[in-house]
């Protein structure tokens, strides 16, 4: 029974439990510190926010997303429709989408294309079209988010194609998308989608009921 003798390495289990506890405590501290200290700006600070909904809505919902992220696609299909119907159309919530294009060049290019559409006041329609196209494809970095697709989506939405094409070909907003993405990293964001509801961070593609509860709590405060 040598292996079960208390003297033989018996200290390792308590030590490993303590290490696991420290790791958990560290993560709790880190997450708590991050959610308190690094809330995004909800005011106009030159970041070109395209607001969906009533500008005077009491609750601001900011989503940091990537056009190739499958969980953002899930959020788009499962959370946004009831959110828009129940809270945005009724003037209780206004929504902002910010670029956190972390999955590669195609994501950055899609973000830049959506900014070109923003110049023509059709950001949200273009945003919806991009997610619809990407989720139908379902694969990351396979070349489908390309110039041809961007132009086709712009055409379908009735954009002024001369200025849209010029904007796209000049890569007018490539640097802006990278800058916004870096700003998200500086804030400590580490995944998409990440949402802020009046500053309260909700990470991931949670069920709609989670967002609904957090929004209701925010509305209750107003």
């Amino acid at each position: 029974m040598n292996e079960e003798q208390p003297k033989s390495g018996g200290w390792l289990l308590p030590v490993s439990i303590v290490i696991a506890g420290l790791m958990i405590a560290g993560s709790v501290y880190y997450v708590g510190r991050q959610s308190v200290a690094q809330k995004p700006s909800t005011t106009s600070d030159g970041n070109r926010d395209a607001v969906l909904g009533n500008l005077e809505a009491p609750v601001t919902f900011i989503e940091y997303g990537d056009y190739q992220c499958p969980f953002c696609g899930r959020f788009f299909h499962q959370v946004e429709p009831p959110l828009r119907e129940e809270y945005i159309k009724t003037g209780k919530v206004k929504m902002v989408f910010r670029n956190f294009q972390i999955l590669g060049d195609e994501s950055t290019a899609a973000g830049a294309a959506s900014e070109c559409a923003k110049d023509q006041g059709k950001f949200w329609q273009y945003h919806d079209a991009l997610y619809t196209a990407e989720t139908a494809d379902g694969k990351e970095n396979n070349g489908n988010l390309n110039r041809d697709l961007f132009l086709m989506l712009g055409q379908n939405l009735g954009l002024d194609m001369t200025s849209f094409t010029a904007c796209l070909d000049a890569n007018k907003y490539g640097d802006l998308v990278i800058k916004e993405t870096n700003a998200g990293k500086t804030m400590g964001l580490d995944g998409t989608p990440t949402s802020f509801i009046n500053g309260e961070k909700v990470a991931g593609s949670q069920p709609y009921s989670v967002f609904k509860t957090v929004i209701d709590i925010a509305l209750q405060k107003k």
Binding site: L12, L13, F71, D190, G191, K201, G204
Partner: protein, 173 residues
């Protein structure tokens, strides 16, 4: 409490505890802020906490959901078996069983994944060394931790089971 039921209960509590922690982990800040707020009803708090558990179906890949549930289940079983072993045999763990138990639990915790961002605890604890970059280099993008954890916990359970049924005899030095 009946002894047999106690260990089943312990396994259940261990499994559920691990599962809840893993699913809440990306939103511990939200959980904490909501729970401590005085102007939110108990019903609303409980609703939010329960609804967050639904993210196992919306914020995890099929692999990460199965891996999380498996690690949680084996974690609970392992805890109950360790408790039984220590209580009944009056010995502590060492050797393979200790390594497998501690390693399984440790890698399970490190590998708890926010599906959208890889290994969440690792990236939360080690941002300065670029944990996200390290994970990106792994062939399975962080799934390794879940697989390793399941393997180690299964080894631990198997070793514990053998030790529990093993008669208490003296072995030659």
């Amino acid at each position: 409490m009946n002894t047999k039921f106690f260990y089943v209960f312990l396994a259940g509590i261990g499994s559920i505890g691990f599962f809840v922690f893993a699913v809440w982990l990306p939103n511990l800040g939200l959980v904490f802020h909501t729970v401590v707020r005085g102007d939110v009803t108990l019903g609303t708090k409980l609703t939010l906490l329960l609804n967050l558990l639904g993210s196992i179906g919306t914020n995890f890949t099929v692999f990460s959901a199965i891996s999380t549930i498996a690690v949680a289940t084996f974690f609970g079983v392992n805890v109950a078996m360790i408790a039984y072993f220590i209580r009944k045999k009056g010995a502590v763990l060492s050797g393979v069983s200790l390594f497998a138990s501690a390693g399984g639990i440790g890698s399970g915790i490190v590998g708890i994944g926010c599906a959208a961002c890889g290994s969440f605890i690792l990236s939360a604890i080690l941002p300065v060394v670029g944990a996200a970059g390290v994970i990106a280099l792994l062939p399975l993008k962080g799934k390794e931790f879940g697989i390793l954890s399941i393997g180690l916990l299964l080894i631990s359970i198997s070793v514990m089971a053998r030790k529990i049924i093993e008669p208490v005899v003296c072995k030659p030095q």
